[in-house]
Symmetry: C2
Subunit: 592 residues, 2 copies
Amino acid sequence: MYRSHSCGELRESHINQGVTLSGWVAKTRDKGFVVWIDLRDRDGITQLVFDADRTAPKLLEQARNLGREFVIQIKGTVIERASKNDNIPTGQIEILVEKLLVLNESKTPPFTIENETDGGEDLRMKYRYLDIRRNPVKNNLIFRSKVAMEVRKYLSEQEFIEVETPYLIKSTPEGARDFVVPSRMNEGQFYALPQSPQTFKQLLMVGGLDKYFQIVKCFRDEDLRADRQPEFTQIDCEMAFVEQEDILNTFEGLTKHLLKTIKDIDVANFPRMTYDEAMATYGNDKPDIRFGMEFGEMNEVTQHKEFKVFNDAELVVGIAVPGANTYTRKEIDKLIDWVKRPQVGALGMIYCRYNDDGSFKSSVDKFYNQEDLAKWADATGAKPGDLICILSGVTNKVRGQLSALRMELATRLGLRKNTEFAPLWVIDFPLLELDEETGHYHAMHHPFTSPKPGQLELLETDPGAVRANAYDLVLNGNEIGGGSIRIHDKETQATMFKHLGFTPEEAKAQFGFLMDAFQYGAPPHGGIAFGLDRLVAILGGQETIRDFIAFPKNNSGRDVMIDAPAAIDDAQLKELSLKLDIKKHEPRTLDQ
Amino acid sequence: MYRSHSCGELRESHINQGVTLSGWVAKTRDKGFVVWIDLRDRDGITQLVFDADRTAPKLLEQARNLGREFVIQIKGTVIERASKNDNIPTGQIEILVEKLLVLNESKTPPFTIENETDGGEDLRMKYRYLDIRRNPVKNNLIFRSKVAMEVRKYLSEQEFIEVETPYLIKSTPEGARDFVVPSRMNEGQFYALPQSPQTFKQLLMVGGLDKYFQIVKCFRDEDLRADRQPEFTQIDCEMAFVEQEDILNTFEGLTKHLLKTIKDIDVANFPRMTYDEAMATYGNDKPDIRFGMEFGEMNEVTQHKEFKVFNDAELVVGIAVPGANTYTRKEIDKLIDWVKRPQVGALGMIYCRYNDDGSFKSSVDKFYNQEDLAKWADATGAKPGDLICILSGVTNKVRGQLSALRMELATRLGLRKNTEFAPLWVIDFPLLELDEETGHYHAMHHPFTSPKPGQLELLETDPGAVRANAYDLVLNGNEIGGGSIRIHDKETQATMFKHLGFTPEEAKAQFGFLMDAFQYGAPPHGGIAFGLDRLVAILGGQETIRDFIAFPKNNSGRDVMIDAPAAIDDAQLKELSLKLDIKKHEPRTLDQ
C-alpha cells in the first residue's frame, strides 16, 4: 500500500496519527537545522518536516538531497504546525517524517510546476504531462469531467439514452472538409470521421429511440483558426415527437442544472430573441447580454442635415458607452484607429460626448445642433457622462463593426465579468444564407433543418426570407449550443437538397439512406448539440478551449508531444493501395 | 405538444382521463364493427379502440386505412378494457379515440417489426433504423446505456476523473494494424486512430491525475472474425500509487456494483487463479467456472500399461461429464468426430463409462482393468453415472482441445446458464509469449507491462518463464477486462523494448515521448481496460456483441446501411497528396 491518505486530506483531527503518503516533491525549504518539503498529489499539498532535533541525521540528509518532482513515499506522524497556513486545507498540520523512500527520481523539469509557470506555450505542449501537474490545468480537467458527468446525470434522469454512433462513416462533400480513413479491406475506398452524428441521431429517431444523447468526439479538417481543434467534443441530443418549445425547455433545464450544480448560480428563465432582433440590437447572432450598450438606429435623427457620410449610409447606428465622456481626445482617436483596422473595417467613427451638465459635444457640431444631439442621446439611451459612438454604412457590415466595438469597449470597461452568466435563446434563424462570393445559398444550420411551417413555397421566390425552426443557445457572447427541428419527410428533404444545389443523383448517393428512412414512418423530431469544449471553458470563466483539453493540437493540427502526424512506412501504404503524391512546388523548411 | 403520455404509461388509475398519444401503428385488428390498433413508442404499447357504436364513421374508416408503421397522433379517453391483457403493463386499459392525425405514412417495411422478425441479418442491417424499433434491439441499446451510466456513477463516486484522450494520434507498428488518417496540413504524414489510449493514460499518471477512466472508442484494422468490430468501446482505467491488489479490489467493486444494480445479483468475493492453474485446470486462460468438469491429469494412472497412445503423450488429461454415461455409442462416436474436426484438432478420444452400479466400461478395456479405471475416476472426480472423456498429446495442444470439448459439452448439457454469473480473476500471466511461427517473443499483454519484481534478469536466460503483474477479469468464460501494473522507469522500459526486438532508435522514434516522461518523476501505476461491447452482451445474457451496437459493421468492415466505406473524389485525394494504387492482379466482382 503506497499511502494511507492523500496529500489533501489531513487535518487537525489527524494529529498524532501515523500516516503513509506518496507524491511529488513540489518545493524544499532548507534552513540548515530544519528542512520542509511540500509533498503534492492530485488532491493537494501536505508539508513534511525533518529537523536536527527529531530526525535521524541520515534521513535529514536524504531529505536535503531530494530534487524537485522526485516521487517519494513517506511514513510519519501528523503533528500540529508551528506557523499555520490558512490558505491551504492542510495548513494546520505537518508530517514529522520517520521513513522516506524515493519511488522515482526526476530530471529538472523544463519549466516550473507552479500556478504561474515560466514555460511558454510550446514547451508546455511538448511536456504536457508536466503541464498537467500544474493546478490550473489539472483543475480544468477535473472541472471538465464534472461538467460532463452532470450533463449525463441530468439527461439520464430525463430518460435520455446515450447511444454510441459509429466513427467510421461515409464522406460527404457538404459542409466542412472530412478527415478520411482509407479502408484496407475495401480497396480504393475510404471511411470518413464524423463532423457530427447528425444523420445517425436522426435515424435513431426513425428507429423509435426517442430521447437520445451522446457526448462524442467530432472531426473537421479545417484550416485551424486560433482556438479551433481538428477534434472536438459535442453533447449531441435528439428527441422525437417534439416541437421547438419542448427542446428549448429541456435544454434550458439542462443549462440551469449545470449553472446550479457547477457554479451554484440560479438563473431566471432565459430570454428569447429572434435572429433579426439580435442582429438589430447587438449586430450579432450571439450577443453578450451581460451588459447593455444596445444599438440605437439613428437614420431618422441623422439624415435630415447636410452630413453626406450619414445621408449616404444605408444604416446609421450608435451605442452609448457608459461613463466614457471622460475619454481624452487622444483615447478617442485611438478608438477610431481601432475600428478602422482591417479586422473591423469601419471607415471612421463619429462620436458625441454627453456632458455631465446635460450639454453635448460632437465631432460633427458643424452639422448638428444641441437639439439634434439630444435626439441621438434618446436613440441610443445615453445618459450624462456617456460617450455616443456612431458608425454608418451598409447595414450588414456596419452592424458587425459596431458589434466588434461594443465588445471591445465592454472588455475595456470590465463589463464582461467571468463570474456572471447571461444565457439567451436566439431563435427564428434564416434557413439559408447567401454566400456573397459564389452567389449560392448554403444551409445556415445544416441541410436537415426544417423551414417554418408554410414557408416551403418561399424557397422558390425569396430563399433568403425563409425562416427555420432553428435556435442557438448563447452564453456570455458565445454560441454554446445550436439545433433545429428537422425535416422528416422525403419530399421536403429532396426540395431542400435541390435548393442547396444537389442534383437528385448526388442527393441519393450521399443521403439516400436518410431519405429512404423517411419513407418508413419517420416521426417529427428535432435536437440540439452543445460544444463541450467551449461550454466548459465559459463555465470555467475562461476563453481558451485549449486549456480544457488534456492533449490539444497546435494550429497546424500537430500533437507536438507525441510528434503526430508522422510518416508511415511503405508497406502500410501498399496495404492501403495508396501512393504518396507529394507536391514539388514549394521547398519545405525543416520544421514544417 | 405531440403527446401527454408515452405509450407505456397509462394504467387503470388514468381511466376517464383525456390523453394525447403519438407513436407507430404496430398492429391493426379489424373486426368490421370494431378496430383495435396497437400504438407503439419507445416506452411500450397502448391499445386504441374504434367501434361503430362510439366512433364517428369517418374516423373508423380512417383507422381502418392505417398501414403498419404509420406515425400517428391521437386524442382520446382512457377506458377500461373489456378483455384485459396481463402480459403488458398497459393491458388493463385502452383508448377510445376521438381524433386521429397521420403524422407520417410508411411504406410496408421489408421485415416485420416484431420480437421475432422474418428479416435476415443482411436486411436487418441495411434497414437498421427499422431493426432498432424491434424490442430486442431497442432494449439492448437501452441496457447498454444503463450499464455505461452505472460504470460512470461508480467510478465517479470512487473519485475517478473521466479524461478524453485524443483520437488523432501516431501510428505504431507494434500490435494490431492501425487505421490511419492522412493529414492535409502535414503533407505526406498520417495520424492513426488509437487501438487504445494506453500511452496517454500512462502520461496522465505521470501528470499526477491519478484516478483516470474513460469510456472510449478504439480501432483495430484486423481481418474481422465473427463478432469482432473495427471500432469497439473500452472502459479504460488507470491509477497511480497502486499495487495489483488495489486494482483488483477497485474493479471487483465495480463489477459487483454492475451485477447488483443491473442484474440485482449479489456475488461473493471473486476467486483468483494463476494463469498456470487456469491452464492446468481448464486448459484455458478464461475459464467458465459456472460448472465443474475440471481437468484431471492422468499421466500417472495411464502410463503404466501397454497403451502406446497414452505412453507416448506428454499429457493425458480427462474430464468427468456429469450424467453422460447414458450417451449411446453413436452419440459418443459423434463426440469423437467433433473433437477430430480441424477446428479442435484432436486425434481421437478415449472414454470410460462410470456405471451406476460402480463398475466401469472403457474403450480401452484391453489395456486397463477395473482397478485402473477406478483411479481414472479418482483423477477426474467422476461419480457413478458420469462419462470420462480423455485426450492425450502435447500439453499445450491437448489442453486447448479438452477445453473446447468441455465448453461444448457444458453447452449441450445446459450448464452455461445465462442467468448465472461467475466472475474470476486470472493473475500472474506470463510477460512474454512465444510466436511459434517466427520464434520471437511478443508482449502477452502489451510492452508497457511490468515484470514481477526481481524477474527482470530472467528475461536474459528464460524469457518465457517471466511472470507479470498482469491480470484478466473473466466472466462466464469470457475475458471482460485485462490490465497490468506498468513499467514506470526508462531503463526497464528500454530493456523491455530490446527484448521485444526494437532497436534503440525504433523505440525512441515510436515511444520516445513516454520514455522521456518516465524521467520526470513517473509514479508507480497500473490499470485495466474492459471491453464494453462484450461486457454488456454477457450481462445481457447473450453472446453476440453486434446486437448491442447501434450501427455495427459487417465482416468486411462495411456499414451496409450508409454504404461505407466509399470512393472519394479526386480533388479530395489531391488535397491529401495521395494517389490510388489499385492492385490489378485480381478481377473484382461487382459486390466487392
